[in-house]
Symmetry: C2
Subunit: 236 residues, 2 copies
C-alpha cells in the first residue's frame, strides 16, 4: 500500500490560498512536487493501492497529528503562511475533521480490510524533498526513513545501493526524530505491519517522464526489499 500525504497543492474553499502567491503555492512548502506522479507510476508497477491527500499540506499536513504546529504551519522554511498565523481552536478542529480524519480513517479502512482478508499489507509512504533547504544543497538523492521497526527500510536501502546509482542513505534528509513518521506510527505500527518512508530529491522527478523513469528504477528496488523481508520472516 502506497501513501502520499503531500500529493496536492490544491487550495480549495473555504480555505482558499491562505494569503500565498502563485510561486509559493507551487513550491515545495505547499506539497511534495513529483511525489504523486512517482507514487502513481509505482502503484501500477507494484499493483499497490495508493492513498493520497486531496489538498495542500499547508491547509492540513496529513503526516502530522492535530496538536503539532506542523499540522497547520504558521511558517514553512523561510515563508510565513498568513492564513495559518492565527488559527482558532474551532478552525483547527474544522480542518482536522475535513482533511485529517477522512484521510486516515479511509486509509485505516483499507488496511483493516486487507488484514481481515488474511493479506499482510506493507505500508510505504512516498515523499520528495528539495535540493536546496535554507540555502544549503543536499547531496542525498534517495532517503529511506524508518520508525520503530527498521527492517523494511534497511532492506530497501540495501536494494537501492546494489541496484541503482542513486546516492541513497538511511534516515536522510531527516529522521523519525524530526516527527516525520506520523502515518507509519498511526497506521502500521499498531498492526505490526512492515513499513518505511521514502524520500526522493525533487529535481530527479521534475517532469512526468522523470517520474516514470524513477518509478521504473525504484519498483524493482521495492520488490527486492519485500522479497528480503519475506525471507527474513521465513527464517524466523
Amino acid at each position: 500500500m502506497l501513501v502520499c500525504e503531500h500529493a496536492s497543492n490544491v487550495f480549495p474553499a473555504p480555505w482558499g490560498d491562505l494569503g500565498l502567491n502563485q510561486d509559493q503555492k507551487c513550491a515545495h512548502i505547499a506539497w511534495d512536487p513529483g511525489a504523486l506522479g512517482l507514487a502513481r507510476a509505482l502503484s501500477k508497477h507494484l499493483d499497490a493501492v495508493l492513498v493520497h491527500a486531496p489538498v495542500s499540506r499547508l491547509v492540513y499536513d496529513c503526516n502530522r497529528a492535530p496538536d503539532r504546529p506542523g499540522a497547520m504551519p504558521a511558517r514553512s522554511e523561510i515563508h510565513d503562511i498568513p492564513g495559518n498565523r492565527l488559527i482558532s481552536a474551532t478552525e483547527r478542529g474544522a480542518r482536522t475533521a475535513a482533511v485529517y480524519v477522512p484521510f486516515h480513517n479511509g486509509l485505516h479502512a483499507l488496511i483493516a480490510d486487507r488484514i481481515a482478508l488474511g493479506l499482510a499489507p506493507v505500508i510505504v509512504t512516498i515523499h520528495s524533498f528539495t535540493k536546496l533547504y535554507h540555502g544549503q544543497p543536499r547531496a542525498v538523492e534517495f532517503g529511506v526513513i524508518h520508525d520503530a521497526d527498521d527492517h523494511l527500510a534497511r532492506a530497501i536501502l540495501s536494494a537501492a545501493q546494489s541496484k541503482t546509482k542513486l546516492r541513497s542513505e538511511l534516515n536522510a534528509p531527516y529522521s523519525a526524530a524530526d516527527d516525520v513518521t506520523h502515518t507509519l506510527r498511526l497506521q502500521a505500527t499498531p498492526y505490526g505491519l512492515p513499513n518505511a518512508m521514502l524520500e526522493i530529491r525533487n529535481d530527479l522527478i521534475a517532469s512526468p517522464d522523470a517520474e516514470q523513469r524513477m518509478a521504473d528504477m525504484l519498483a524493482p528496488v521495492l520488490n527486492m526489499g519485500l522479497v528480503e523481508i519475506q525471507k527474513q520472516a521465513k527464517a524466523g
Copy 2:
C-alpha cells in the same frame, strides 16, 4: 474518554444468534455483563464521552485486530460458537467493515477532534470479567491493565488501594501479553495519550444499583489517578 468494546450482547441480522442458545447469549462469552452500565455511570460522574460497541463481541470483538482468531472466535472458554466455525475471508472482511472499522474510525474522529482543540484526552477502557473461569475462582476484584505506557494504570491502582477495599491488582486477571490491549495500542499510543484498561469482576456489578455503587466508588479513584499523572507531568 471511556471506551466499552464489550458493551453489547445484541446479535442483529444478518448474523443472527450464531447458533447460540439463550443462556450463551446472556453469558460473559457474548459480552462483559455490567460494563456498559458502569461505563455510563462513570461517564456522568466524570463528564467523559463514552464510545461503546453496538453488537456482541462474538460477532466482532472490537478489542481485537481483524487477523486475530479472537476477533470472530470459533471457541470461547468452553463454548463452541457454531456461526464462527467456518468463516470465509469475505465474511471476515464484511464483519470487519460493518463493526470494527466504524467503531474505531468513530472513536478516532472523537480523539482527533479533542487533540485538535488543544485538549489532552485520556483513554480508559471498561471491562468486566467472570468470577469463575474454566472452573477456577478468581480472587481479584479490580484489575488495572497497562500497555506500553504504565503511568496512568499505576496511578489508578494506587488510588484504588488507598481509597477502596477492593482487591485491586496490576495486570490482572490478564495482561497486555494476552493481546487484550488492542484499542489502547491503536488509539492512544500513536498520540502519546495516557491510557489504561479497567477490569471489574462482574459479580460486583450484577444489577443497575450495583453498577451505580461501583461507579460512585471508582469515579473518585479515576479522578485521583488523573490528578496524579497531571502532577507527574508538571514535575517533568
